[in-house]
């Protein structure tokens, strides 16, 4: 059955509050009609896990938006601020930029960093009075992971809350149809993050003794003429900003799950050997970034749909992550899925897969492990509050009581 562009577009009401809060039924309906939909003249949506994993990482799937997609009148696009990072580069430049961080995020180093996360979490828990309500998202998700990233980078803690919301604002522009006033708000958020970060990086640059973090390594490379100032700054902002907010959503989702399913909390406590699979399943059901967007630079075909070079392809992560062809009872939490039916796209895939995913997974495991070991229950002390666009989700508040 072949839909018109209007009919296909109506399947994905990107700006609808209900769709944003729970896009999964809409994905299922759309998938039942066809695995690939053309939703505008030059936009396609791919729903199946197999099609997504195969196609999204093909070398022809460029991450850089072709100029034809620029919206007239609103310049500059706030995200051009990251033009000199892995986010916007394709190979071979991408390879060069990715190498800047590789050494800091090896499986071996992750062990060191996760021990820091452990210590920061122990300190935060130590400050809680018995029965005190705590914001599990900010105090136990954002803070310990942000502090860990600060140590990796050797950066000061800074205005964590200010930066969190500046990032949120900056990300708003990436919604499919951002709406009135978002451009200015996004640009303001971006400028705030860059100004704050640049101030700290300049301070490090003029310090008598260099520090021992990743940023010091970037500064040294800049000193040798191997990196431009923009490359140093943009990569620093990217890491400094993503250390807390992204894992925090996963961690928050873990707290919610522990509150809803004490049996799973007990299992997490008693069986350390399941933790890796548990965190992976948590990631499958709770992606933070919700859509992978790519622009093929060659004509390609997905499920007999011809997609011309220069189109925009949206791969909704939630659709692939809950494809019933791969995941039995896709909406259920089940950490015992076999390995071949547990691979999800929450951390992306291929060349552009999240460079910090090992760290995020380890941090989540450490924090949830501490909670499960030290407490017998997690109780929600109020409705969890989320903020959402069709591209991104974050917790605003997640009040819990630990006992």
């Amino acid at each position: 059955m072949s839909l018109t562009i209007e009919e296909a577009s109506a399947l994905f009401p990107w700006n609808d509050e209900k769709f944003r809060a729970d896009p999964y039924p809409a994905y299922e309906r759309a998938r039942a009609i066809a695995p690939v939909h053309r939703t505008t003249e030059n936009t396609y949506v791919v729903l199946n896990h197999a099609d997504t994993t195969h196609n999204a990482k093909l070398p022809c799937m460029r991450i850089a938006e072709p100029p034809s997609f620029a919206t007239a009148g609103e310049h500059p696009h706030p995200w051009t601020a990251f033009d000199n990072t892995v986010l916007s580069k394709d190979a071979p430049e991408h390879t060069r930029m990715r190498r800047l961080t590789n050494r800091w995020l090896t499986p071996k180093m992750i062990g060191t960093w996760a021990r820091l996360t452990h210590d920061f979490t122990v300190e935060a828990l130590g400050r809680l009075a018995p029965g005190e309500v705590v914001d599990a998202h900010f105090d136990l998700g954002v803070m310990p992971t942000h502090l860990t990233m600060c140590r990796i980078l050797d950066m000061p803690v800074g205005d964590v809350e200010g930066m969190f919301w500046a990032l949120w604002d900056a990300m708003l522009i990436n919604a499919t149809a951002p709406g009135e006033g978002i451009h200015a708000r996004s640009l303001a958020g971006m400028n705030f993050m860059f100004a704050e970060t640049e101030r700290y990086v300049r301070e490090k640059q003029s310090a008598e003794e260099p520090g021992n973090g990743l940023v010091d390594e970037l500064l040294a490379a800049h000193g040798r003429g191997e990196l431009t100032w923009r490359e140093v700054l943009e990569t620093t902002v990217l890491l400094y900003m993503s250390g807390g907010p992204n894992p925090a959503y996963l961690i928050g989702a873990g707290f919610k799950l522990f509150a809803e399913r004490p049996d799973l909390m007990a299992e997490f406590r008693e069986k350390p050997e399941i933790r890796e699979a548990f965190v992976n399943e948590l990631a499958r059901l709770n992606p933070v970034e919700l859509i992978i967007t790519r622009f093929p630079n060659e004509d390609i075909e997905i499920q007999d749909v011809h997609i011309p070079a220069g189109s925009c392809i949206k791969y909704p992560i939630g659709a692939a992550n809950r494809d019933p062809a791969v995941f039995e009872n896709p909406n259920n939490f089940d950490h015992n899925r076999p390995p071949e039916a547990s691979r999800n796209l929450t951390f992306g895939l291929g060349t552009h897969a999240c460079a910090g995913q090992l760290l995020a997974r380890a941090e989540t495991s450490v924090i949830l492990g501490l909670i499960a070991e030290r407490y017998s229950s997690v109780e929600l002390a109020g409705e969890p509050l989320e903020v959402r666009t069709d591209r991104l989700v974050a917790f605003d508040k997640l009040p819990v009581r630990l006992s």
Binding site: P59, R99, N102, P107, G350
Partner: protein, 150 residues
């Protein structure tokens, strides 16, 4: 006693992890092992190694990791006689790339050309598979152990 040198080139540490696993497997069987990143290995030292296990990922577009490239360049320019050297090869890659596991092939080709003899099969870990690299490394090392001279 035979000393087993485990030499690795890596970008993000997976090959390093595999090198450690292989060294541990040999260590468990009583072998003396030396693990080193290829940046710390002199090509001129290679000829004196009886057994060298090479571990390398592939990066960029079929390229060698940054830490393996200078070693490979030096092999090609210095052209040491490796006829007394026996080596094994373990690659890491991702089958989505057309250049799947190119780097370990590049290294193998150079070693064979210089007279070294390969023992065992070339392992090619695929990041797109569901097998953890550690698991493949253990299985492959066990297999390799059966081929070691007494």
């Amino acid at each position: 006693m035979t000393v087993v040198h485990v030499l690795y080139g890596t970008e993000s540490g997976n090959a390093e992890m595999v090198a450690d696993d292989i060294a541990a497997a040999f260590g468990d069987q009583g072998y003396e092992t030396v693990t080193a990143e290829l940046t710390d290995v002199e090509v001129s030292d290679l000829a004196a190694m009886q057994i060298a296990v090479f571990v390398s990922s592939t990066y960029g577009e079929g390229g060698l990791p940054e830490t393996a490239a200078p070693f490979h360049d030096a092999l090609l320019t210095e052209r040491p006689d490796l006829s007394g050297v026996r080596f094994a090869a373990f690659g890491l890659g991702d089958s989505i790339y057309e250049t799947f596991n190119n780097a370990i092939e590049t290294i193998r080709t150079a070693l064979l050309e210089l007279g070294a003899e390969q023992i065992g099969t070339t392992a090619k870990h695929d990041a797109a598979s569901t097998t953890p690299a550690t698991e493949l490394a253990d299985a492959w090392a066990r297999e390799l152990l059966t081929l070691m001279p007494a």
